[in-house]
């Protein structure tokens, strides 16, 4: 569905991504890991059309992303960004409704169906009781869930998530990833998620891609990619994988 063919991206006058290739299928969670500055956020920006490609192609269902309008692209792809600098005066309900933008005309007139879809998105992300609150009054974790609801309201088959769990309490980290996985299973969404937490990736991602210095160093199942040896090298700290019965090994510093 999403086909990334050897893309390179320049950012801040340096090459932030170098010949990155991978594919993403419906019903799949691809976890992107890598140290800070490895290019994870740049990858999300390039996929969502915010940064232009210096080389390579991205296609969705065979269609070149570079030739789509903003609106067409947003119908295919929704982004869950990190919760920062959000407009404080908006209510949660207004913010979630912004997710319907690619399905609306210039005036932004909403149909009952748009409101129903937004309502469903809030129900799933446990944000319904926040509906009338203003964004500026919410905690970082609540804002992050609102952004997830907004992305779901976009009804796009591809979901790009940039460190969505960073501000969340543990219970909501697990809840958000459980929700993501159930959406992937039930609605065959294709999800690309950048994560800091290696154990969260190991637990939820079907495949993992390791970005280092803008280069895709490894891609494969968690068991293939998340080896203690490889990660120790990349993160410059000795790590060990502790086997856990019935699940992926837990990665901790030695």
């Amino acid at each position: 569905m999403l086909d990334v063919q050897s893309i390179s991206v320049n950012y801040d006058q340096r090459r932030a991504l170098r010949e990155v290739s991978f594919q993403l299928q419906p019903g799949e969670i691809l976890g992107i890991i890598g140290p800070n500055g490895a290019g994870k956020t740049t990858l999300v920006r390039a996929l969502s059309g915010v940064l232009s490609l210096a080389a390579g192609h991205i296609t969705v269902e065979g269609r070149d992303l570079g030739r789509m309008s903003e609106m067409e692209r947003a119908q295919q792809m929704a982004v869950v960004p990190q919760a920062r600098n959000l407009p404080g005066a908006f209510t949660v309900w207004e913010m979630v409704l912004l997710g319907r933008t690619p399905h609306l005309g210039w005036l932004g007139s909403l149909s009952p169906r748009d409101e129903e879809i937004a309502h469903q998105a809030m129900l799933r992300t446990d944000t319904l009781e926040l509906a009338e609150r203003r964004i500026g009054e919410l905690s970082g974790g609540e804002q992050q869930r609102v952004l997830m609801a907004r992305a779901l309201a976009q009804s796009a088959p591809i979901l790009l998530m940039d460190e969505p769990t960073t501000h969340l309490d543990l219970q909501y980290q697990v809840a958000l990833m459980d929700l993501t996985r159930s959406l992937v299973e039930r609605e065959k969404l294709a999800v690309l998620v950048c994560l800091h937490d290696l154990n969260l990736v190991a637990r939820y991602a079907h495949r993992v891609a390791l970005l280092v210095g803008g280069v895709l160093q490894a891609i494969g199942t968690p068991a293939e990619v998340l080896t203690a040896e490889r990660l120790s090298q990349v993160y410059h700290v000795p790590l060990q994988a502790i086997p856990v019965p019935g699940g992926p090994p837990v990665i901790v510093p030695e």
């Binding site: 059309g49 915010v50 947003a74 929704a78 404080g88 005066a89 912004l98 933008t101 005036l107 932004g108």
Partner: protein, 342 residues
């Protein structure tokens, strides 16, 4: 739970209606509502109701009505474009006056006037275009000067606005002084005041403000989406660059037309959108029309004060709004540093 969505419109429209009636009634001669009605009837119906009504009709229809309409249009224009600039810059302090757009428009207008004073209809229509040029130029310069990466910090915006505003004002003064005669008239115009007489300016300002404000109302949704930042706005499917250009052009056109006919009147575009945002929230589809109605009302009240304060002499309107707006500005500045709730 949900408040009646029509209520903000009722409240602001009521204020506007009050401002309109008072503006028609108050002045060197007080015209009671009954007299206003008689005057209107006599002129429109062609009735002769005696000399007193004839005089009242002349005052009403040749002096007060055009002035009232011009003030209302100017208020709507400045407040509506202020709200739009605030959304565009994502900054609550972006008032057409404070960010230098008004002064830039003033320079454009005076440059056109120094070529030929607006004695002709063509001249009346050309001056807003010159003001528009000045407005767009100054807003682009301020934007470039104030920008740090993708963000526009308040302090930068205001500093760049002050710098461009000073430069434009200096050039404007120079043009006015190097012109022949007319200096006093131009000065009064600059302060926002008595050049407003007769129907000419109303007819001159109407097409520009009408078009500009209509476009701005239509961009309410786009402004809402822009509030999440350019990057997210694009990810949500908004053609960001195109939307920005349209909003910038419409806001600058509206400001320019207001300045060209009413002079430089500050702070209306700061006060009104801010109050409305506080009471009824930040949804631009609602904020823009409410700011326009409220701006018209506020400027009408300010104009009434300007007329009666030192009667029979008039205080320039820009002085009244500055007396009102400067303390308000400081309050907003303080507040916007403390919290992210604008």
């Amino acid at each position: 739970m949900k408040p009646n969505p029509a209520r903000p419109y009722w409240i602001t429209t009521l204020l506007l209606a009050l401002g309109l009636v008072l503006s028609l009634a108050v002045g060197s001669v007080f015209l009671s509502p009954a007299m206003l009605w008689d005057a209107l009837r006599s002129r429109l119906g062609g009735l002769d109701l005696g000399p007193e009504v004839r005089t009242a009709a002349a005052i009403l229809l040749d002096l007060r009505l055009p002035r009232t309409l011009l003030v209302a249009l100017t208020g709507a224009a400045l407040s509506g474009s202020g709200a739009a600039y605030q959304g565009l810059f994502r900054n609550p302090l972006a008032d057409p006056y404070l960010i230098g757009v008004a002064s830039g428009a003033g320079l454009g207008a005076v440059a056109a006037m120094s070529l030929r004073w607006p004695y002709t209809t063509i001249g009346l229509l050309a001056i807003p275009m010159a003001a528009f040029g000045g407005a767009v130029l100054s807003v682009l310069i301020v934007y470039q000067l104030a920008r740090v990466g993708k963000a526009i910090p308040s302090s930068n915006l205001i500093l760049a606005g002050v710098a461009i505003s000073s430069l434009a004002t200096a050039l404007t003064s120079f043009l006015m002084l190097s012109g022949e005669g007319e200096v006093r008239r131009a000065l009064v115009w600059m302060l926002g005041g008595a050049s407003m007489s007769g129907w000419g300016p109303v007819l001159g300002v109407l097409p520009y403000v009408g078009i500009g404000l209509t476009v701005l109302i239509l961009t309410g949704h786009a402004l809402n989406v822009l509030q999440v930042g350019d990057e997210q706005a694009r990810q949500l499917g908004l053609p960001v660059e195109r939307a920005r250009r349209i909003i910038l052009a419409a806001a600058s056109l509206t400001t320019a037309a207001a300045v060209a006919f009413s002079g430089i009147i500050g702070f209306v575009g700061l006060i009104v959108p801010h109050i409305i945002r506080l009471i009824w929230g930040g949804d631009y589809r609602r904020l823009l029309p409410l700011a326009m109605i409220g701006g018209a009302a506020l400027l009408l009240f300010a104009d009434i004060v300007a007329r009666v304060l030192l009667a029979p002499q008039e205080v320039p309107l820009g002085i009244i709004t500055a007396l009102l707006g400067a303390p308000f500005f400081l309050w907003v500045l303080r507040r916007s540093r403390q919290q992210n709730l604008w």
